[in-house]
């Protein structure tokens, strides 16, 4: 049996202009230099000349010969595009721009990446890219969306001033995110995490690793769904509650506040840390919420780990210009301060992608690849 060695790295940006595409291009360049076969796609739309919303220049994706990309066919219409990419096959996966195709780089050039917009489609695309014998697949994120990235093996988080120009608030939020991704994995249980997933996709109450109750709901989105859950578990002796979908942070807060006794000593199981982020209205305070839950004696564990390899930071942001109505100009926050404050709170490598230490990112990636390709 051939072990699947291909690693999928997703690049998650917390906002537009956080350096996601710069990070991608940087990695891509290095991987190409190392002669590693790369596959490339995006869950959004990347590669415009100027930012759709702010009108400022944006980097585009610079590919090289032999790179395999998955992008909408519509993005490869010009004569120039046809010189850069050779269309290999259709994927039968569609996005808002039409059908996505697999293409191979014929030579160096700029491309627009517009790939699958949902997780299931990303799974298919990853599978198809793997069949092209690529060793690593880079998945570019999209504005404020992250769910599809659960199909990646690891993430790089790109954040910066365009998310928040207040350094302290920005660091707080980043800390929350990394803390969430650091939630412990459910381990050493009689039934595997896989098995839990294979059950019908609803909220499940588990005792001694067996489901004893199932709800109709998939997510904890409202008071009603919480009450349903409470009704079900009230007189039950249970150990774990598996929530496959969203847990809204307000609901978690309510659990900690009003139902801590009920949940004390028990475990809330989530599929992947991303689900917690998607359900959060206030990511910055998520770390406090997790702490509060923990202090109440409630565990939160995840079925799947999605490690963040590094955090790249970008001190640039589009400054809204009052002088020129409705337009933006380039603004900067203190990159030095941002770097040091971030480093002091985050225990993952922090890298200023435009700075001198950007090679640190390569060290991180090298280590990751080495650990997984054995």
């Amino acid at each position: 049996m051939i072990k699947d060695k291909t690693r999928v790295i997703g690049i998650l940006g917390t906002a537009k202009n956080t350096g996601k595409t710069t990070t991608l291009n940087f990695l891509l360049e290095w991987l190409n230099r190392k002669g590693i076969n790369v596959g490339l796609t995006s869950i959004g739309y990347d590669g415009e000349d100027i930012d759709n919303i702010t009108g400022l220049p944006k980097p585009r994706i610079f590919i090289q010969k032999e790179n395999i990309i998955a992008t909408a066919e519509q993005c490869l219409l010009s004569i120039e595009d046809k010189k850069v990419i050779e269309i290999m096959e259709k994927t039968t996966v569609y996005n808002a721009l039409g059908e996505i195709i697999l293409g191979k780089g014929l030579r160096k050039g700029l491309v627009v990446l517009a790939g699958p917009n949902k997780g299931r489609d990303l799974q298919i695309i990853i599978h198809q890219l793997k069949q092209q014998k690529v060793e690593i697949i880079l998945v570019d994120g999209a504005l404020n969306r992250m769910l599809p990235l659960i199909y990646c093996d690891a993430l790089i988080l790109a954040t910066g001033a365009s998310r928040n120009t207040d350094i302290d608030l920005l660091v707080d939020e980043t800390e929350s995110i990394t803390r969430t991704f650091n939630l412990p994995l459910r381990q050493k249980a009689k039934i595997s995490n896989q098995e839990i997933l294979s059950y019908q996709k609803k909220i499940m109450v588990l005792k001694q690793d067996r489901p004893i109750k199932k709800l109709d709901d998939y997510s904890l989105l409202s008071e009603r769904t919480l009450n349903n859950l409470i009704d079900v578990i009230n007189d039950e002796d249970f150990e774990e509650i598996y929530i496959p979908g969203i847990i809204q942070d307000l609901i978690l807060k309510k659990i900690a506040k009003d139902y801590s006794k009920l949940f004390q000593g028990k475990t809330i199981l989530i599929n992947n840390p991303i689900f917690l982020l998607v359900g959060s209205r206030d990511i910055r305070h998520l770390k406090d919420l997790i702490e509060k839950i923990s202090n109440s004696g409630i565990s939160i564990k995840t079925l799947y780990n999605l490690p963040i390899l590094a955090v790249t930071i970008n001190p640039f942001y589009p400054k809204y210009s009052r002088l020129r109505k409705d337009s933006y100009e380039m603004g900067w926050i203190d990159g030095y301060q941002l770097y040091y404050k971030m480093k002091s709170k985050i225990f993952i490598p922090v890298i200023n992608i435009m700075g001198e230490e950007s090679n640190k990112l390569l060290t991180v990636i090298k280590r990751f690849l080495k650990n997984t390709i054995d």
Binding site: N95, A96, R145, L147
Partner: protein, 631 residues
């Protein structure tokens, strides 16, 4: 093609019997703007689909909760105008649908003013509809059938402007006077010729040989060489120097082969995927014309392509004034550093290659020393229309009356031969000639055209003319006098009328808004009067200190489109003065024609100012004086 009227064909949506009803959830995320969604809701319902319309501005969690409850959903339509922070919200919404395991239930579509396919892709939607999307397009998407984007193309269709006119006279006296005058003219011009006429014949022969595939390339070259020698003998020194020594006049240069290649690539690109904006509303006329003549064919083509997109039905070529004073035409794709694009076979051919197939093309030949040859080139290249008015051309355009009459008659014959109707600008009115006189001249030329089997189009001005200023006819409004002009002409003859050039002349200022507005208001009058076509200026044309900008061109096209929407089939009501002015103009025309008939010699009448005196501001031109020969 002999000219055009516009036919407004509404593209009927064919409803297949087997379109299955869909279940659609409509989510207005806007706190206020849910009108579009409401309209779509109504239309979907009327086609038998099941719709659920959520109230506006619900929190995302609640929306997700609602979606979870609905079974068998096919589409989710989300509507939101984009502004700061909204894109993030929409991205989060999509994430939540996926996290809540409902992403795959239906196709999720985003609609809103700033939405593009690219933005929809970035935010994770399955489809995006933005500004300018027809509701029909969205419905076609939902019903999974083809939406014909060529609707814009279907609506653009060339039809002949004069086709629905009989050219019958209703005013018998004027008819008789006109016939008398044109009898004399036709008799007078027999056996008269000029260098221009000779050049026209030679040019026609050269083009015919060039197009004749019975000759080999060498034979063609030889024959054309011989004809060219003869041609040159009828030219001015400036032109002879070009043919013999390759010297171009000052400020003129040939485009390089690289530039021409680039131009061809540009033309090809511009012709793909044109998304025409709809100019028409419920009326099929007037056609809207713009003029081009930046001096450079590249810029001209850029202006033309953009004008087409923004709704112009036709474009017309205006050439440099020195061309009118020079005997002979140059050759090659030439660029010119001043106003006016040089008339050469190659320039016009290049411009023709860039035109959309339904765009109407006029080449003007109404003044100067090259009128018949211009008409030949225009005709051979398939131009739709041309422009001829010897009265204007000789009283205000600088050409000698005798010479222009001889040339003009020949030009009219060519126009007839090549099936090009022509309009007759009466811009002498701008010099100070009262409308009744310029109309008299215009009607004479029109009658002459009819005698020569050509199709004239009358072109009164919608302008704030010097005469109107002096006599106070427009002191109160710009409406009555213009209405009077149109009604007067209509009471005389059943002929097409095309006010120009441009409408609103002398009412524009440097203020772009005011300039666009006055053009729009005059077009309102035009549509109210149901004239056949109008020519509009860009909003900076009257005062631009250099080339006209594309933006200001779009200003007026957009303004006129809005007017068509505003007026529809309604009308503007003049005061009683209009009737009074109409009577005055008609009387004035008759008086003028009587004077000309009495004179017994039309060309003499021109020289003597019967159709516009020096007092009126009309000066018989000198260009080409004493170049007419008999025999």
């Amino acid at each position: 093609m002999d000219g055009c009227i516009y036919k407004n064909k509404e593209h009927d949506v064919q409803m297949k019997e087997d379109i299955s009803p869909k279940r659609i959830l409509l989510i207005p995320l806007d706190p206020v703007h849910d009108v579009a969604l409401k309209i779509i809701n109504r239309r979907l319902k009327s086609r038998g689909h099941q719709t659920i319309l959520l109230p506006p501005d619900l929190p995302l969690e609640e929306i997700i909760g609602r979606i979870i409850e609905i079974k068998n959903l096919n589409f989710i339509l989300v509507s939101r105008t984009l502004s700061y922070g909204v894109a993030e919200l929409l991205g989060k919404f999509i994430d939540m649908t996926e996290a809540a395991n409902i992403r795959d239930r239906a196709k999720i579509v985003l609609g809103g003013k700033a939405v593009t396919s690219q933005l929809a892709a970035e935010l994770g939607f399955d489809k995006g509809f933005g500004a300018g999307t027809d509701f029909e397009e969205i419905i076609a998407y939902i019903e999974d059938r083809e939406y014909h984007k060529e609707r814009g193309e279907l609506l653009r269709k060339k039809i002949s402007i004069p086709a629905r006119y009989t050219y019958q006279y209703s005013n018998k006296e004027i008819k008789m006077l006109l016939n008398e005058i044109t009898d004399e003219i036709i008799h007078w011009c027999q056996r008269k010729s000029s260098p221009a006429i000779e050049r026209a014949k030679l040019r026609e022969a050269m083009i015919d040989i060039h197009n004749d595939n019975n000759f080999s390339n060498e034979e063609k070259a030889l024959k054309i060489k011989i004809l060219k020698e003869k041609y040159i003998s009828f030219c001015d020194d400036k032109i002879i120097r070009f043919y013999q020594e390759g010297l171009l006049p000052a400020k003129v240069r040939l485009l390089s082969p690289e530039e021409i290649d680039q131009l061809d690539i540009y033309i090809k690109k511009e012709k793909e995927n044109i998304n025409f904006k709809k100019m028409r509303h419920t009326q099929s006329i007037p056609l809207v014309f713009v003029q081009y003549g930046t001096g450079c064919p590249i810029m001209d083509i850029a202006h033309i392509k953009k004008s087409e997109v923004w709704g112009a039905d036709g474009v017309f070529h205006f050439d440099p004034s020195w061309g009118a004073r020079t005997e002979g035409l140059l050759e090659g794709v030439l660029s010119h550093e001043e106003d006016g694009s040089i008339i050469t076979w190659e320039n016009l051919k290049k411009i023709k290659s860039a035109l959309h197939r339904e765009t109407i093309w006029t080449i003007r030949a109404h003044r100067g020393l090259n009128t018949p040859e211009t008409a030949v080139i225009a005709g051979k290249l398939g131009a739709d229309l041309t422009k001829i008015n010897m009265v204007y051309g000789s009283l205000n355009g600088g050409t000698d009356p005798e010479r222009l009459m001889v040339d003009g008659i020949e030009t009219i014959k060519y126009a007839a031969k090549y099936n090009m109707p022509f309009d007759e600008p009466t811009n002498e009115e701008l010099g100070g000639v009262p409308a009744y006189k310029s109309f008299a001249g215009m009607l004479i030329i029109a009658d002459l055209a009819l005698r020569l089997k050509a199709k004239p189009i009358l072109k009164p001005l919608f302008c704030y003319s010097p005469d109107a200023m002096i006599t106070g006819k427009m002191d109160d409004n710009y409406i009555d006098y213009n209405v009077a002009k149109i009604n007067c002409l209509r009471s005389i003859i059943d002929a097409p009328i095309w006010p120009g050039e441009p409408i609103g002349f002398m009412t524009h200022s440097e203020d772009r808004i005011q300039s666009s507005l006055t053009t729009a208001l005059h077009s309102a009058l035009a549509i109210s009067l149901k004239v056949d076509a109008i020519t509009i200026a860009s909003s900076d044309e009257a005062y631009s200190k250099g080339t006209i900008s594309l933006a200001s061109r779009i200003d007026t096209l957009r303004a006129v489109q809005e007017v068509f929407r505003f007026i529809g089939k309604a009308e503007i009501k003049p005061t009683n003065k209009a009737k009074e002015y109409e009577r005055d103009i008609t009387k004035g025309i008759q008086k003028t024609l009587e004077a000309v008939a009495r004179r017994g010699n039309f060309v003499a009448a021109l020289y003597e100012g019967l159709l516009g005196s020096t007092q009126d501001g009309a000066y018989p031109g000198r260009g080409g004086r004493n170049t007419v020969r008999e025999g």
